[in-house]
Symmetry: C2
Subunit: 523 residues, 2 copies
């Protein structure tokens, strides 16, 4: 924990020095066609002024801290607007205290304290929310990182009982001795927790079939002020509306997830990968659709538009990256058919697919490198903030028939907004997941910021994107949660009476309204 940046992504020591940042600024500027500003440095943590802390009752003293650094570390997630405020030393939204419960009894003690003191509780996993999911001034931040570890493994069923506070790498390390893996790699993997993934319906490693953490969940245990909400560990059920699906996506507003039984699997041994180049974006989309509907179920089916491919140094055309993996069988037939499909849609597969067997060649270093580069992506955003460059992403899911009009509107409206508020800007697109009925497109925007006005600039661009998503039948979020940022659009998206339904559920499970007020549009 001590190396975590108090304002930016990940480990503090990964933030480059001023000279390196200036050099990176030149590179980025050359690619994007606009000038970065001279690097600034973040506020000194010791100079940060905080609002008053809570008075901790004696029964919580052993696991609650009012230490300034702890409160600073628990003020924000890692959204662009969080990092900008943190960089400037603005921690007015700090929690009044940070509780790190050692067990469920401690969670209960915090519930009682909060009810007595009429204080809100914000469940905090790894603090990587990009949607304002953990920000509530003066709350008690409930850091669940001590409720961690792989606690029990059922090898026969491929299930593991895991503490909600377990970070991604610890979770995989706990499964490795069993030859098992969860294989859930959101980009926040290193710094986020199982409980956070469940509470936000995180999207993961697999591009098809089991894409969301929802699909990997066999049962959940959640503490609510009204009692323990624990489902049965079942491979499937048809007994009434799914209780798990009410907890998944509840964003800490209905209870505190303490552990879950997760579906784990043998570590993959066979892998196949291929890259297809396309003359046009439309062709690449058509090929991705064909693969998504084929029943081949690739683990990777990542489309990059031309600019995204260029920025990533992959190609100077739109590309489709295909990957298969299996713990059970070689993948030659799967990949051969996928390549055939992609070629039928104009794809140029220049090199024969790579087919490998880890049992022969050892663990795939290239895959590990690719994953590390993917996980390192968010560091760049923090560096760009110091250079006065606004960089962020938004994501969605939409039907195949709805995608072209949505994409056109987003390109037009987001570019217009960047031009209007920043003077310029670049927008790129990729697909992170594909479904038989539509893709999950993921957009990155980068624009020159005006120092001191970044938050307004960001809000204008975000609103342009979000309005277009809603107008074109897409979802405001496929796997980054609603939090506070997306709430206005989420309220338009959901079925009209569903807001009242969630409010009624909240009154039942959290009658004093203690838990994470503001997320999901709940008071």
């Amino acid at each position: 924990m001590s190396t975590r940046s108090f304002w930016g992504w990940g480990h503090a020591e990964r933030f480059p020095d001023a000279a390196a940042r200036a050099a990176l600024g030149q590179q980025v500027g050359a690619v994007l066609g606009f000038e970065p500003q001279p690097p600034e440095s973040p506020a000194e943590i010791s100079a940060i002024a905080l609002p008053p802390a809570a008075v901790v009752p004696w029964e919580c003293a052993d696991f609650v801290s009012t230490d300034a650094e702890a409160r600073i570390q628990h003020t924000y997630g890692k959204a662009y607007r969080d990092q900008v405020r943190g960089f400037r030393g603005d921690f007015a939204a700090a929690p009044a205290a940070v509780a790190t419960p050692r067990d469920e009894d401690d969670v209960q003690r915090v519930f009682e304290w909060a009810a007595r003191a009429a204080q809100s509780i914000v469940p905090f996993g790894g603090g990587t929310s990009v949607v304002g999911g953990v920000e509530h001034p003066g709350a008690l931040s409930l850091d669940l990182s001590a409720l961690s570890g792989v606690r029990e493994v059922d090898d026969v069923s491929g299930l593991a009982r895991i503490g909600a506070g377990t970070f991604g790498p610890d979770l995989e390390r706990g499964l490795e001795p069993h030859g098992l893996t969860l294989r859930h790699y959101p980009q926040s993997f290193e710094f986020s927790t199982l409980g956070g993934w469940l509470a936000t319906r995180a999207g993961g490693h697999f591009a098809t079939v089991y894409t969301h953490i929802d699909d990997l969940t066999a049962s959940i245990r959640m503490l609510s002020p009204a009692g323990v909400f624990e489902s049965r560990r079942l491979p499937g059920s048809g007994a009434g509306p799914s209780p798990d699906r009410l907890v998944l996506g509840s964003e800490g507003a209905l209870g505190v997830i303490t552990e879950a039984w997760m579906r784990v699997r043998p570590r993959p041994r066979w892998r196949a990968s291929a890259t297809a180049h396309f003359a046009t974006f439309e062709q690449a989309v058509a090929a991705a659709r064909a693969v998504a509907r084929s029943g081949l179920f690739p683990s990777n089916c990542r489309l990059l538009d031309k600019r995204e491919a260029a920025l990533n140094g992959v190609a100077d055309t739109p590309v489709l990256l295909l990957g298969f993996e299996s713990a059970d069988h070689p993948l030659d037939a799967w990949m051969a058919r996928a390549v055939e499909l992609v070629r039928d849609h104009g794809g140029d597969v220049r090199r024969p697919p790579t087919l490998r067997d880890d049992a022969e060649k050892g663990r795939d270093a290239a895959a590990d490198q690719w994953r590390q580069a993917f996980l390192d992506g968010p560091y760049l955003q923090s560096t760009l903030i110091s250079l006065g460059i606004l960089a962020d992403t938004f994501e969605t899911a939409v039907t195949w028939s709805g995608f072209p009009a949505l994409h056109e509107a987003l390109v037009r409206d987001v570019r217009d907004a960047m031009k209007r508020v920043c003077g310029a800007g670049v927008l790129t697109c990729r697909f992170t997941h594909v479904y038989p009925d539509g893709p999950a497109p993921y957009y990155t925007f980068v624009a020159p910021a005006r120092r001191g006005a970044e938050l307004e600039q960001w809000a204008a661009i975000k609103a342009a994107a979000s309005d277009a998503l809603l107008a074109h039948g897409a979802t405001i979020t496929p796997h980054h949660a609603v939090g506070r940022t997306h709430a206005p659009w989420y309220e338009q998206q959901r079925p009209a009476p569903f807001g009242d339904v969630l409010a009624a559920v909240k009154r039942t499970l959290d009658p004093d309204g203690l838990l994470n007020p503001g997320v999901l549009g709940l008071g």
Copy 2:
């Protein structure tokens, strides 16, 4: 409709005459080892006495009937206990009237009438519930069969907007001109509706991956007394708890589903099938587990225990029936690996797998025949009732590690119960669906009934089975819903505060408590 049996399964004319029934009774008796009784005949519909009918308000007169036959046809589902009561002419539970709304405005008119008259409403699809899902004396039965048809097809996304009252065969006929299919074949397929499948989380055709109707649902439109509850048509979303998953399994207690966008797919062209024989049941289970965890995703992975295989004339050993299907590619590699896996677990695949391409050989008559035989299964139960033989099924899902102890307990407790209350009885087991973390076992029990005491005998056997399911961590229902029959066990199974949650949701959507009181343990 006119040919539907008022008490038994399906078409009335399919009920054999007394001589044919007596002959069948001899056959069945020889196989089961106990004597059937001389066939009885069902009550005459004209002699059935009904409780008083409702007085229909003028604004509903055009679509509401108080006709005796309509009320009789809407009194029960098709559970064993429904058929026994119907056979005897006991329709004391008849609804006060049957509404057949022509559109959503008519549904609204029924809501208003019911609220004014303090009368319950029971949404009625095809009336095939086997769990008391549509039985509520004196209610208004809301028959949704007129809200039917494939209304819109999005070929690009593979989605179809379908009226909730559409019966299985009409649904497939509506999709056929588009070259598309839903491929959802519960055993009730011919006589049940899309809305019923959604409201009960029906299990369908596929043994792996997308097994439940839940997975095939892109969005749902439901009318509740509190307003229209309609979700967005999305391939995936992470925006808060899933609203669809609250409607799926709501069993008509939260609103009336009027239509849905369903994920449909191209009709399969390639098919592969194989049969493996095993020396022991345990070996067959281990082979099914291996296939379920392989990532091969067969469309069929049906295990039959020795007795089930014998009764179906398939084999005199435990067998595993494997099937693959695809609209995209030949299945040789998939089947080859599945056969290898099954052989590794002691399976004897005596004949080479069948691999066929419908484009070469035309539609697969054998598959059509098998499906028809499967769909005809429930007719036998009605015939056995007339012979004084008690025959029913119960189903569950459980982890692979939990299955052996559960199976042992079920075999012991259900046989004990049959012996105690019937003097004898046969229990068979198959797997209908398999998941990476566990199977969905399906049990059939057949025992000699004592005329007049069938319902008590049935209740004792059902209780023995249900108690064992609950004690061994299994679900009370994987895909037959909770209804009224399963409510006592469902209340033990669900998370403790979930009953209060559902009650709060019901108060929000159905403040006057009009809709299907009693299902899901809701008042």
